[in-house]
Symmetry: C2
Subunit: 392 residues, 2 copies
């Protein structure tokens, strides 16, 4: 559902340099949270040819082997030799991490746990729409699935000449009813071994990545394909492009369909509202749509540093609401407690759950579900009933 | 004009760590473009306690003294001694810049200049609304003016105890007609000398920064003020918070009121559509509103790497259009050429104009106008007439 007749979203694979940085930052966060749930972590990473630099502010009683974590993430992604451009075993790992400013900390740790102040000011949005079964916009959903599939066929040996770095982009055409009805254009660039010929690569990408992922009824003779349009993509990863944490915030969220407050997620413990309140925003919006109160919903929350209560909560239902807008706002205020303490408690965020969030999107999926383990709690529709009750 | 009854936007001062990084990246871009307009520049910066690391990909024939540029930017901002936490003269400057991948370059430099391919895939939005005289949303406009004012009264000696790092946030209340009518909350945190007492700081910030900037008729007894809510902000800049280029993309653009494609601006030469097409998007949207075709307009464009023509152009006028929506789209296609070559030509982007863009917003202002020099060309309403003509 959108006012646009065409809408484009993109995604990138786990081997994209910015995503390497995000995964390193979140792996460090996880390792620390596993030992010390009270830690304060803001970890930023830069990757460039032959080097990973970790920085930011961390205050913890845990001892973790940061160097091994960084090397492990890089190797796990598949950057294991200078042939592919980056090697977790031999790259340089530089640590310039500092501690959280005690002056910021005095704003966060208040008299009681309940009064825990927001770790920063800022604005965050949450979004959901009934456009897909995961209540996410369709363009970002399919853009993610393309690069996820790229990683799968690279790992399982289907297309052994694939390398880790890849990007996807999907342009969807929406009908008059606001429903997706066709795919206008698909862009897919993937890093590859030098041996594969461009024509063979293009055919394999269509057959093994695009066709298995995109709904056949949306593809037609009018669909434009741009597959490795530069013609060559052997050099990839940090050699081709410097990677930084927090530089894929639209890929991480709603692919541009929803508004964004600007705060990044990866590397931040949930005392940072940039992350926890954006997760809570998704949770609120998804429950509103799941409860049938609107077909499409965007929520904005904002905070002042050191303050527990949001400075604003505001809702946009794009005219799709089935109940009066102000009554939905009142129900949200009744059912959801958006103080940092309450978000962390209700979404159970003080666990090492973050590394899988750092690729293929923080919303609309649940990688833990497969493992039968803790879900991405913000994807639960466990408050839909309470919202309906609150509305009488 | 918004569907929200409350809307919050934030800004940060030129001394904020992410903005230090943006300004360094753009100062390097400017120095190179001044010598070599054909250079390819993607410059990323990380600042942390005592160090500035410059990275990314640059291909140029120019020789520039990068170290001096970095030190100059840091000093100009006001970080000139370890007392304030950072010192341009004595910090470490580390250069790990590489070259643009020749495989990317072969996608950008095509047979003719006209066919120049987009430097990357991606989606970009442009936005304008008649909410302010600069055709920008009001919340981000006032958030910027607060931190600009902070810098002014710091520099001109009005409040000599101010230090460079600061953040602002404005929550606006909109009336039923979609017009801003009151300010619900203002957050302002500013770094300061240890000598100033908190009560004095708060009073001075209200009198010398907030009152001169925010429209009096929007302030009332109901306006909430959060001034240095942590209570202390002596430690600031890169000691308190690691700074990275491209981490303030919502501050840089529309404060969250418009959608965002995710691409950052600073450090990128205009062959990168993340920057040039976002500027062009603002230009298109602003001309549409200036021509009276809509009171509010958002445009999305997208590109495939190596391709000159956008993969999609799409328009949202939020029901405020005065002419049929499809006819506006047709007029945009007639009046604006959105190939990278044409954008660079029409907006005259191959000049060292970028450093001033890197603080206080890329849109809705024109720092060069004061100097009587080249404007932010994307703020010109020079195609409004052509749009009207195209519509007959
Ligand atoms: C085009 S690069 C960004 C621009 C780069 N900083 C520069 O200096 O040109 C962005 C992403 O595109 C992908 N990429 C790298 N080399 C590519 C190639 N030869 N063809 C297509 N995509 C490529 C990688 O995922 C990379 O992270
Ligand atoms: C709160 S810090 C970000 C969090 C930080 N990475 C951490 O580890 O807690 C974000 C910004 O807030 C501002 N800031 C720093 N110290 C502050 C303080 N003591 N009070 C209020 N704002 C502060 C600076 O502009 C800084 O860049």
């Amino acid at each position: 559902m959108t006012e646009y007749s065409l809408f484009t979203s993109e995604s990138v694979s786990e081997g994209h340099p910015d995503k390497i940085a995000d995964q390193i930052s979140d792996a460090i966060l996880d390792a620390i949270l596993a030992e010390d749930p009270r830690a304060r972590v803001a970890c930023e990473t830069m990757v460039k040819t032959g080097v990973a630099i970790i920085s930011g502010e961390i205050t913890t009683s845990a001892w973790v082997d940061l160097e091994s974590i960084v090397r492990g993430v890089i190797n796990d992604i598949g950057y294991t030799s200078s042939d592919v451009g980056f090697d977790g075993a031999t790259c340089s790992v530089i640590n310039i991490i500092g501690k959280q400013s005690p002056e910021i900390n005095q704003g966060v740790d208040r008299d009681t746990l309940e009064n825990q102040g927001a770790g920063d000011q800022g604005l965050m949005f949450g979004y959901a729409s009934d456009e897909t079964d995961v209540l996410m916009p369709a363009p970002i959903t399919y853009a993610h699935r393309l690069v996820e599939r790229q990683a799968r066929v690279r790992r399982d040996g289907t297309l052994p000449w694939l390398r880790p770095d890849a990007k996807s982009q999907v342009t969807l055409r929406y009908g008059g009813d606001g429903r997706p009805e066709a795919i206008d254009a698909v862009v897919l660039s993937t890093q590859h071994n030098p041996e594969i010929a461009l024509a063979d690569l293009r055919e394999a990408v269509i057959e093994e990545i695009i066709k298995p992922v995109l709904p056949g009824e949306w593809l037609s003779a009018d669909t434009k394909y741009f597959i490795n349009p530069t013609g060559k993509f052997v050099i990839g990863g940090p050699v081709g492009d410097c990677g930084l944490t927090g530089r894929k915030i639209i890929v991480d969220s709603y692919g541009g369909m929803a508004r964004h407050g600007g705060g990044a997620f990866s590397g931040k413990d949930p005392s940072k509202v940039d992350r926890s309140a954006a997760y809570a925003g998704r949770w609120v919006a998804k429950n509103i749509v799941a409860a049938g109160l609107a077909r499409r919903c965007e929520i904005q929350v904002s905070y002042a540093i050191g303050e527990a209560r949001p400075t604003s909560i505001s809702l946009n239902t794009f005219g799709t609401e089935t109940v009066d807008h102000d009554r939905i706002v009142a129900a949200v205020r009744e059912v959801f407690d958006l103080r940092p303490f309450a978000i962390i408690r209700d979404l159970d965020l003080l666990h090492p759950i973050y590394r899988p969030t750092a690729s293929y999107g923080h919303f609309g999926r649940d990688p833990y579900a497969l493992a039968g383990a803790t879900a991405f709690s913000w994807e639960r529709t466990d408050r839909a009933e309470a919202l309906r009750s609150a509305l009488g």
